[in-house]
Subunit: 592 residues, 2 copies
């Protein structure tokens, strides 16, 4: 599949219109003309003819071209870019409204022109996002934006705005936002702007469908199935067997894992509720993501029954602590149900020792979930996947391609080793949606596995990126990001004015450090120093945002005062951006 398929590519028949072929004589005549030209040009024209429904359409387009005023252009007078497909013309949007667009009569041309204008705005935005001379953000306080800046009015009104104003609104919305794709945006685990993924998302929204049945999302449902199987193969489950679903984010994926565990051991909960079962206990690292606690609260376990396991100085679960807590809980007469091992914690990027945890889960018959929302991407790298050794022993895995793999938001998978649990756990057999007497194999209607009814199409962008990069492309991306983190770590570990939050090379791209301004250097560790250091990162961050030059996260953790957490997941970032970040921290923090 790496090579192109000439039979349905740009030059050949457009498969998208095969049922709309114009009358054969017309088609043949025009193709004859076309084939008289060079092959490539001829094919182009054939493509054009096939892409247009009928000769009438073609004539209309030709005459529309002829009628069109020659656009005024001072910069170039050449005959350029005359491909006869959709093209921008001088359009006055000040007298056009949403009601003039499709499905309005004669709405086609305004629709095309409006969308091309929007695309122009987006292309300009994209171009600047990758340009380091552009600011990452143009910060304003909430009250400033709410009061309206330079005419940008967020309020909704009864009467429609012109399309011209809508275009202005689009520009303004981007202007006052944050460029998460900027090479110097390091603030979140999800960053970057993958162009293929973006194309995929534009297509997804144009298709505007819903994952609940094969009936209305045949292609996307199959893509989801194939991609999930591939992910399960990479996890190491035999033949990629098992189950899974894309969900709206890692927190929901983790919630699914808890539901699946509960249903596996206590299927009666579905009908009788938590009152019908003994007190069930969930275990997770004290440094794991807060979504495990959220799931505990939401699903009726209660946060007190989510027991936190101690971690070592690098942020990894201490297996002995897990085992002693399991024993303790059992002695109280409670039932240990579930252990979450994190592959890539949010702040430290630590990988819990999955094999050791799996041994304990097997010994006590507990469900093992691996939250690889952040670290799952490392499975794509032959160099780094050993950090998840043992993941094949998990009962379920959360893996967010929208984090380490650079897929656009949102794209999170929950993968379950045993087939049928998600379905059993969640299905309600709604007769209006999941009819059993459809003409196709209804096992492809996956909606009843979900806690959602309608479900957004999150798969296409990911599938398209995989096609475009190949497995090797994701591997290169992961390796590159980890190399950059290593570069940062090496750069600052012995640099004056820096202290690492934990010693040793980071396992993921998370590099956690304090910047010590000159005024605090040499000061002995005491309460005053701690208090002052605690205020350094927020102050530098605030200045960064005011300047708009870069963004990086900070937080306190346990007894540790505010420190920076640097992460890299953006394929646009380079060593020079890491250097820039360090320079910027020093520039902005020098006087603190």
């Amino acid at each position: 599949m790496a090579s192109s398929a000439p039979s349905s590519s740009g030059g050949g028949p457009d498969p998208n219109s095969s049922n709309l072929r114009p009358p054969s004589t017309t088609y043949d005549t025009w193709c004859g003309v076309a084939h008289g030209c060079t092959r490539k040009l001829g094919m182009k024209i054939c493509g054009f003819l096939q892409r247009n429904n009928s000769l009438e359409d073609k004539s209309r387009i030709v005459s529309s071209f002829k009628e069109r005023q020659a656009a005024k252009n001072l910069l170039s007078c050449e005959n350029i870019d005359r491909d006869p497909r959709f093209r921008r013309t001088e359009t006055d949007f000040s007298n056009l409204y949403a009601r003039d667009l499709l499905p309005a009569k004669n709405g086609e041309e305004p629709t095309v022109q409006f969308l091309l204008e929007v695309v122009d705005i987006l292309l300009s935005y994209i171009k600047k996002t990758f340009d380091r001379s552009t600011k990452v953000l143009d910060f304003h306080h909430p009250h400033q934006l709410l009061e309206g800046i330079e005419g940008f009015n967020l309020e909704l009104s009864d009467q429609p705005e012109s399309l011209e104003q809508i275009l202005v609104d689009c520009r303004d919305s981007l202007k006052y936002g944050v460029r998460t794709g900027h090479p110097r945006f390091f603030n979140q685990l999800s960053s970057g702007l993958d162009i293929i993924g973006l194309a995929g998302e534009w297509l997804t929204s144009t298709a505007n469908t819903n994952m609940f049945t094969y009936e209305i999302a045949p292609v996307f449902v199959l893509m989801e199935q194939l991609t999930l199987r591939k992910m399960r193969e990479i996890i190491g489950w035999p033949r990629g067997d098992g189950d899974g679903i894309f969900s709206p984010g890692g927190a929901i994926s983790n919630m699914y894992s808890v539901m699946a565990a509960r249903y596996k051991y206590f299927p009666d909960v579905k009908t009788k509720g938590m009152a019908a079962v003994p007190k069930l206990i969930l275990f997770t690292s004290e440094l794991s993501h807060y979504s495990i606690k959220k799931a505990g609260a939401a699903l009726g376990f209660g946060t007190e029954n989510v027991i936190l396991i101690k971690t070592d100085e690098r942020g990894r679960v201490i297996p002995a602590d897990l085992e002693s807590k399991i024993i303790e809980v059992k002695q109280k007469g409670y039932v240990p149900l579930y252990v979450n091992a994190t592959a890539g914690t949010t702040v430290y990027g630590a990988f819990d020792p999955i094999n050791e945890i799996a041994d304990i889960c097997e010994k006590y018959n507990l469900w093992l979930h691996v939250d690889g929302a952040w670290g799952g991407g490392l499975l794509m790298s032959r160099k780094h996947r050993h950090k998840l050794n043992g993941i094949e022993r998990a009962n379920s895995v959360t893996w967010n391609p929208h984090k380490m793999m650079g897929v656009l938001l949102q794209c999170s998978a929950i993968l379950v080793r045993e087939k049928g649990i998600l379905q059993g756990c969640n299905q309600m057999c709604a007769g209006y949606l999941f009819q059993q007497d459809k003409q196709y194999d209804v096992s492809y209607d996956t909606g009843d596995k979900a806690i959602q009814c309608g479900r957004h199409v999150d798969i296409f962008k990911f599938w398209l990126m995989w096609k475009a990069k190949g497995t090797v492309g994701f591997e290169q991306h992961v390796n590159k990001c980890l190399d950059l983190a290593e570069y940062l770590y090496t750069k600052i570990k012995n640099r004056e004015g820096y202290e690492m939050v934990f010693s040793g090379e980071p396992q993921h791209t998370n590099v956690c450090f304090w910047y010590i301004p000159p005024s605090l250097r040499g000061m002995p560790d005491c309460e005053e120093r701690r208090e002052r250091l605690h205020r350094v990162a927020p102050k530098i961050k605030a200045r960064m945002m005011e300047c708009g030059t870069t963004m990086v996260g900070y937080q306190p953790q346990g007894d540790k005062v505010n420190f920076f957490r640097m992460v890299v997941s953006n394929s646009a970032s380079t060593k020079s951006d890491i250097d820039f970040l360090i320079d910027e921290i020093e520039r902005l923090g020098e006087d603190l």
Copy 2:
């Protein structure tokens, strides 16, 4: 805001690049040239100059224009469309790969060309979607698509595909999908393809950010806040006070309502779980959406504790049945907690009598939720909003703009009358995300209200549509759809070969009916007739999908055999499409 704002519109300075103004001499020089032309053209050129970061950039673009081969065009030789902004050129994508796109060195031009090519595919798709001579779908069975049709290969591989192949993949993915925006797609409550909404979604994916903090989604967070307030005003809560959030679909919104109710009455559940509270009972109509049961199962109530209320022949809750069931439950020592009243049931489109239900909820101190996922849109219509009378008495409301208001998937709101409950219920205060020492007012960080961590930006398309249509535009849309349903009802209620599933005019756009093929007409009601009639709708539906001409849903309900459920939410549909549907049912069902 209905008028355009010339200071920042197409002709004026582009606010998106104000921090990137080129050196002033260059800028002024070029603007001088520009202002020598007609005002509009001059402004365009100024806009262009400002949109480009520097003179270098401009020179590069000019020379790139000059270097470019004049495209060969047999259909027109005029000088057309020479606006110097982003434009398609003849690009050979067979030797280009994802790695050649941004952030690659010199990746800008391939990126622009690739995205413009994608947009061309999408525009072609959009154009055909609104063209009634296009099929709604090109049906294939799962195994056919999996085996690969005409070179369309869904499998993922290790090596990258060329961009030419990626473009083919995009075309194929659309070709084998379902056109949910087609005027004759009546299969789902969500249908249509709103162009403004589409533009909004393209922008959203380009911005690629996350709703959890103001820090990285300042504009979208404020838009969500303002829009939710507006929705609460329309519901009728004083000053629009209250709370809310956009969630990934109506099922999750309904789940939020149950969580909020539980937390309001039994806040200890959050920490201690369902074991710490009495047996709690949820009530909902036997014809309500299955998501209430799903929530009951997921949240630990158990589906047995979701008690179904009887409905009348029109599908509306019988309040007396609700009251007697509440009393019954109390007598058993259980605690009635929550009542869901549906505004617009999925199949019948019925509106439960909210005021009567609210009286009962007040009397027994129960939480009242209104599931207006489907019917909430009628609040926008002065003519139809009376069907939701009493909604202002609800404690919470689900309202999906992606259904009756034609917003693209996904867009669902959960609105809560009392402020603070969502936050109290769900917050976990993650230190790495919701730092309290940020430089801005952190009450705008709304992420801790959600059960999700990352949250997709669902607001922008909706906000933009509201701007573009005004409140009146949504009202017109709703009224038009209801008029069409009335047209269908009037057309078939006395027509030979049709039986209505319930008598009287539908409350929503749902028209439920049996088509009786000639062979069954006149046959007395008996088991054989019922069995044969049960097979009619699936058979017609299968033929419709094979022909690809139209799509409409069917289902059995209770003791009623399979019937058609027609719904209209697509602004592209007209009376002629309703006529077409009826003709098509008769054509395809005549011989059954």
